[in-house]
Subunit: 332 residues, 2 copies
């Protein structure tokens, strides 16, 4: 049994820098045709010079694979001149509420003070991606942020706004209420709930932000993904941390899912007998929504079994050590 995906795209990816980037970049560049590269480094990628330098580092690490890193600026107040200079080099701008997740300390403290940048982005057709969480109770943070999405979508109707890595039924429902509101969803939020993180023994390798939510949330996300909801895009949020930052006191948030995304997505869509919808979820929706063409890349998977390694370097991947049914067998 086999299944081929045309130009899979990861619309939310963390590659880090230095040795970690060198370790993880090839694993995405091999399977994906393009990926949106998150800019929450220390210091953040918030100017063109740093962005171009970062892109070079990624290109050096990706080797000969056909792979297009779609670069993002870290949101701050930008001048029109800055945005004009950056426009052709960036895919969009990623906004973090200050302190909401890993390396987001430089993020935005008050959204109503930065509306001039939203207006410029709207005029220039630069998409806005948002990590939408408040600083409230961990299970409520996304839901509490939804009115902010709604307000921005209303106030800037031509601005394409993506709710990144949505985790709740409420966010899925909001998708249909504003024409200019889109979303990405990770692989792991289609599969796990808080039970998998903290229902038995505590599993730091499944700890992420936003935290995995309730069964009814997971079900709503899964149904939207399986149906290839036209405003929903796959974005892995693959976020590697060394094992020393996971199995410790003060475990960092993030799952490293890059090498297992496509095999698991095929498994999931096959289980639900909707394999035909996967192409749109993992590629077509993103290209239509953002009006771009990803490099051509045919990724064939076959049901021949795949033994997942325990680690890649010092990173423990999602599904470490598991035997998966599907494997990527040919890329052309």
């Amino acid at each position: 049994m086999e299944f081929t995906i045309n130009s899979p795209i990861d619309m939310h990816l963390h590659l880090r820098e230095g040795a970690m980037l060198e370790c993880v970049t090839p694993l995405t560049a091999q399977h994906f045709s393009a990926a949106i590269i998150m800019p929450n480094l220390v210091p953040p990628v918030d100017n063109l010079e740093r962005l171009l330098q970062y892109r070079k580092e990624i290109e050096a690490a990706q080797g000969d694979d056909v792979f297009d890193p779609l670069m993002m600026l870290f949101f701050r107040q930008y001048s029109e001149a800055e945005l004009k200079a950056a426009r052709e080099h960036i895919f969009g701008i990623k906004l973090y509420p200050a302190g909401a997740t890993t390396n987001s300390e430089a993020g935005v403290k008050a959204l109503d003070e930065v509306e001039s940048t939203f207006a410029l982005m709207e005029q220039m057709g630069i998409p806005l991606m948002i990590h939408g969480e408040t600083h409230g109770f961990v299970m409520d943070r996304e839901k509490e942020f939804l009115p902010v999405y709604a307000k921005l979508a209303e106030k800037f109707p031509k601005l394409k706004i993506t709710m990144e890595h949505i985790t709740t039924r409420d966010a899925v429902e909001l998708l249909d209420r504003y024409e200019n509101l889109y979303a990405t969803v990770t692989l792991h939020h289609l599969v796990i709930t808080l039970n998998d993180v903290a229902g038995g023994l505590l599993n730091p390798h499944l700890f992420c932000k936003p935290i995995a939510k309730r069964p009814e949330d997971r079900e709503a996300l899964l149904q939207a993904a399986l149906a290839a909801h036209p405003k929903l895009m796959f974005g892995s949020d693959s976020a590697p941390h060394p094992i020393s930052k996971k199995e410790c006191c003060g475990c960092a948030a993030g799952l490293f899912t890059a090498p297992v995304c496509l095999p698991t997505l095929v498994e999931l869509f096959e289980q639900h007998d909707v394999l035909d919808n996967l192409q749109a979820f993992v590629s077509g929706n993103a290209q239509r929504i953002h009006n771009f063409t990803a490099p051509s890349k045919l990724v064939k998977l076959e049901k021949i079994g795949l033994q997942m390694p325990a680690r890649y370097g010092d990173v423990v991947p999602y599904r470490a050590g598991e035997s998966l049914p599907w494997a990527v067998t040919q890329i052309s």
Copy 2:
């Protein structure tokens, strides 16, 4: 500033066995006059011979401190002869749904199959303590179990039933609906929510079962404790694990709070200006509800500051490394 507690009692304590027992027993025996000793060892304490042996081990470890270990049997179907033989040696019987927490695999799978033992306990005046969680979604497990408490309380109206380590507002509210229903609450569930476990970096040292819940749950528990609700008793659920079982993949559930319980309770009750209610919460309620007298022990605390160690042996305590305002300064 000083405050003296008369015969503090810990109504829910894990002492383990062997080297761990030798490490942690003195820390409770020093501060408390008596404590209910949980029987979830491997194999469980489910016969009189093992219980008496276990008591001897505790007495050997407690040294010269005035301290009464109140022994518990692990619930199973017991015959009348077994219960008669055990009656004078036990404080009560602890029921675990199979698999609900640490070392509970031998617990009960179907409650309606063990009612003959409940009936015997009711006749003989043996209290029943329950770890009340279903196997559902981790945030709902206690709430889903409440109808079981209600059913048992109705069916066995003379059986004293304690909801152990309650964590939800719903459980607090249930307390007032059945005369024969009581509860213990831990120190940490008066202080932390899921945010402290998983809202920032993941903190395995605050991971416990039942898991810490929502802010409104914590608030309901705290208000009931501060008011010394007459059916609520302090039970620390202090549950030591070696650091290697906490900072790892598959972290065990439990906080080691024994050495910090009294200083923190005094701090908490003082902050809310209800120090006068602490005696009932930490001693009086338990003796009245269960009609027993704990050994006389005056524990004086003074506001002179206490630097908490990072570890006791290989166990990281709650509030490790913190500077606390109150310290136990005299015991007589």
